[in-house]
Amino acid sequence: MSVDLDDPGLQAPPDSPNGHVELAPMRPGALRWNDVAIFLGAAVSSLSLVWLVYERLAPTSGALGFLICWVLTFLLVYWIVVREVDGPLVATDKLVAVGIGIVAVGLLVPLVSILVYIIYQGLHALTVGFFLRDMTGISPQQPASAGGAAHAIVGSLEQVGLALVISVPIGITAAVYMNEVRGRMTRAVRTFVNAMSGVPSIVAGLFIYAIWLLQFHHSFSGFAAALALSILMLPTVARTAEEVLRLVPDGLREASLALGSPEWRTTWSVVLPTARSGLVTAVILGMARAVGETAPLIMTSFGTQTMNWNPFSGAQQSLPLFVWQQYQLGGGAVGTPGFLRAFTGAFALIMVVLILFVIARLFGRSKFSSR
């Protein structure tokens, strides 16, 4: 069988200089206009079908039922269409992907709606003055824009700050003891830390009330609140820090010890800096636990309407307590000044938490980590 080299079918295409045919790049899994069109078309058609049957024909009513029927019908229609266009294998794959996506969106909905509702209700009292004034001399009849939460913000920051100063060194030391030193009391320490994490917040508050306020005859103060908060923060910080220290590879400890370093300096100079971002996570988790606690504050810092810069003497206000007390002022009725101020206070609390987390993350970033 001979080959005719003059056959034009065997020649290279005229527009490629080296004889190779340029192929268009293939990106499997990328989104094409076709996919988007099928998705939207299925959504619209299932919506109209469900509206017709659910609203008009069948004796059913209610938004939740409508939504569920719409989602189920959408999935069915989408699957049928994709099966026709791309085949059953792709159809099953896309069905599961879309289903998981819908579930993910569904999970985001409560979170986003909380945020939106808080902002919506909180906008009434949200002025610059809200962050600058306190509630001195504001009567319940005055509008929501009167007064402010400056005293609560200062109090929250001071109390959480003091609680951090108390619980973070103790928590990280406990984690170092449990993981690096591994002394004889390791098991006991771990049991205590785990038990402490189950202490209800109001019990922590009662404990500090009984010991600090009654036994040692102190009055309400921000410091007492900080003590109660540190009881709640300590187990979270200690347990998370222990987990993170366990992740530091042993090879680094060995390298440091082989250079002649004593064990404590190995921990201080090698292990803790390596675990730095994880330790910051431990601190953030502890802060998250503490900053929103209300119950232990009732009987330790008690709350006040005036600004108190000194956390060591005199009752001090803080944001969760402010929210609760404003809500009570309004008697729980929607639209009252107290009610609206409470939502603004909640918004301020979310902002404070966000700023604290961002600062902590910036602090925890090692100069070499890409994260």
Partner: protein, 281 residues
């Protein structure tokens, strides 16, 4: 700063054990006498005697699991860091038992450095800080830190490759470069002995060759004890070899010690001959 000078060595016959001993008084001579080791109640080494002359390279060869790594961890007091570890016998560094009551483990580990099988530079420090980390961790001073870093990286064969990125992260180097960084770090504290636990087993041949060149350069000032599975490497770099072996259910022992050329060409024990000729291992 490094003040030790190069000594002029006459040509030595590598099959003559007596000629392998360094001149008396050279620092870095180690002698292990009747060393035994346990993990809990399980005995892993029995009655080892080994003389590691100063300024020479001693290679420890033998099949896996016969206790070579345990032995060199005994030499720099890292064995006792394992929970339940125990040992007997004495290890002399320049005539003094490092396990004696007046010897701090941290001082011993500074004088007897170690390079591990898997490179472990500190990831939170730059290359520059990694080299000097031994000084920081032992609270030592260096009169000229830049010169010390350059000297140590030069001896480790890494200076030309990293001289423009001394502030890059220690973990950002390739495997071979990381291992040479670990060697530079170990050299920065001016040890008398350097223990190497299969330092090239995770590396490519080029990095291995560089590290062997480094060993060749530094062995005059630093006694080297190297565990290796690579027979050709042992023949290339060591003056003395110790062959470890273990039988099932028994602790590891040294079967034969001798000059490298003699161990490989004319071993006295049949088991040694079987191992070096690849009949087991």
């Amino acid at each position: 700063m490094d003040v030790r000078t190069e000594r002029e060595e006459p040509e030595i016959d590598l099959t003559d054990a007596a000629a392998l001993a360094a001149p008396a008084g050279t620092p870095g001579e180690m002698i292990a006498e009747e060393v035994s080791a346990w993990f809990g109640s399980h005995k892993v080494l029995e009655n080892l005697n080994l003389h590691m002359p100063a300024g020479r390279v001693t290679a420890l060869i033998g099949p896996s699991g016969c206790g070579k790594s345990t032995f060199i961890r005994i030499l720099n007091r890292m064995h006792e860091l394992v929970v339940g570890a125990a040992l007997a016998g004495s290890v002399l560094l320049d005539g003094a038992d490092i396990y004696g009551p007046h010897h701090r483990p941290t001082d011993t580990r500074r004088r007897i450095g170690m390079v591990f099988q898997k490179p472990n530079p500190f990831p939170t420090m730059s290359v520059y800080d990694n080299v000097l980390s031994g000084l920081k961790l032992t609270r030592s001073r260096a009169t000229d830190r830049d010169a010390l870093v350059e000297q140590c990286l030069g001896r480790a064969g890494l200076w030309n490759e990293v001289k423009n990125r001394l502030r890059a992260a220690g973990g950002a180097l390739s495997g071979g470069q990381q291992q040479r960084l670990c060697i530079a770090r170990a050299l920065a504290v001016q040890p008398e002995v350097l223990l190497m636990d299969e330092p090239c087993s995770a590396l490519d041949p080029t990095s291995t060759r560089r590290i062997e060149e480094t060993i060749e350069e530094i062995k005059q000032q630093v006694t080297i004890v190297i565990v290796t599975h690579n027979m050709q490497q042992a023949q290339r770099i060591s003056e003395q070899c110790a062959f470890f072996n273990v039988n099932e259910g028994e602790p590891g022992r040294i079967v034969e010690i001798g000059p490298t050329a003699q161990i490989f060409e004319n071993p006295k024990d049949q088991r040694t001959a079987d191992y070096v000729h690849g009949r087991f291992g």
